[in-house]
Amino acid sequence: MDILLGPLKLGSQTIVAAAVRDISDLKRGEQALREAHDQLETRVRQRTVELEQANKELEAFSYSVSHNLRAPLRHITGYAQIIEQDCRESVDDKTGAYLKIITESAGKMDLLIDQLLSLSRLGRQSIVRKPIDCERVVREVWDEMQQRGDTVGVEFELRSLPIAQGDPGLLRQVRTNLLENAAKYTAPKSVPQVLVDAVESEGNTWYRVIDNGVGFDPQYVDKLFSVFERLHHEDEFPGTGVGLATVRRIVHKHGGEVRASGSVGQGARFEFTLGA
């Protein structure tokens, strides 16, 4: 019950008027709200514990992979190379070539393990947000690629890019993966061209990397960003199929989007936003 007392003038007399309200419904409503709030808190706490548990399991998994998958690989490579060394006289060219394939495959598998572990580590870490001079990052990445000899003959154009807010290390990785792809897939062209720019659309800044390379078949565009999925042959374009999956994961961590378009023989365009 809610009782409100107040003076009331009735003619020459002042009386006390009482207003009595049944507020049972109100009280019940408040109680229900409190209970719902408490339940929500409990659920959030539970989910956080579950998430922390899942993260710990992922850590243990990465650790296990690190140790256990690498050892047999090392043995495969080690003994294959010992055979090559010890039996150099008696090993014919064909056998030598087979041994080399064994060693190279083991080496490739090691690289894949490394990249998968990086990808999984990526999923677990939280990002920092700092202002990033995108133009400078792109220029630095391209310069490094040039020094390695990966950009021979490529006509490169870098247009003005706005400052981004994001994790510097991770975004540098995005830039590296996209630019390395652009250089790799334009290499067969007589005049390879790579353009980096940014456009505003629907209130978002889309950072783009556009090339005139071998492109890809657009009907498979959904596979592009999946781990280990490749749309080109290994012997034409070496790669592990983790680069774009990494790009997508990083961009999504920033609350952004990534998309690709292209056609066979006529180049590709990769663009991403970074969310707020």
Partner: protein, 143 residues
């Protein structure tokens, strides 16, 4: 008293033992290598029980982290805690590049941390450099 053994290799995987010993012998870096195949053997070698024969400490310990019975980190800790053995350089040699392993090993006093490369030539090269550095370049403490 016997001469100290050059290297105590603590490694449970027999293939890794063979590859490491071969790499060391290939470069003629050492004369004498002792292998302990698990943590318990390593501890028994370094800290012989009462009444057992005292041995001079090895000049260098190559320690794998993932060992059965007694974990590599624990061996590292025991070596670095004991005044008789704490000055022996311990080179951790392992497949793991995980941050936790690195941190823990350095915190316990590891002198060096090497990740075993998959490629055998890379591996023998790493072992050669380790052997050259710790056996020839680095100034040992004369006991």
């Amino acid at each position: 008293m016997k001469q100290p053994v050059d290297i105590l290799l603590v490694e449970d995987d027999p293939h890794d033992v063979e590859l490491t010993v071969r790499a060391l012998e290939e470069h003629k870096l050492i004369n004498d290598i002792q292998v302990a195949r698990d943590g318990a053997e390593a501890l028994e070698y370094l800290f012989p029980p009462e009444g057992g024969q005292a041995r001079p400490a090895p000049r260098c310990v190559l320690l794998d982290l993932q060992l059965p019975k007694v974990d590599g980190h624990e061996i590292l800790q025991r070596i670095k805690e004991n005044p008789r053995t704490c000055k022996i350089p311990v080179v951790v040699l392992t497949s793991s590049r995980e941050g936790l392993d690195l941190e823990r090993a350095y915190a316990l006093g590891a002198n060096s941390y090497l990740c075993k490369p998959v490629d055998f030539h890379g591996f023998t090269d790493a072992i050669r450099q380790v052997g050259y550095y710790w056996m020839l370049l680095n100034e040992p403490l004369v006991q």
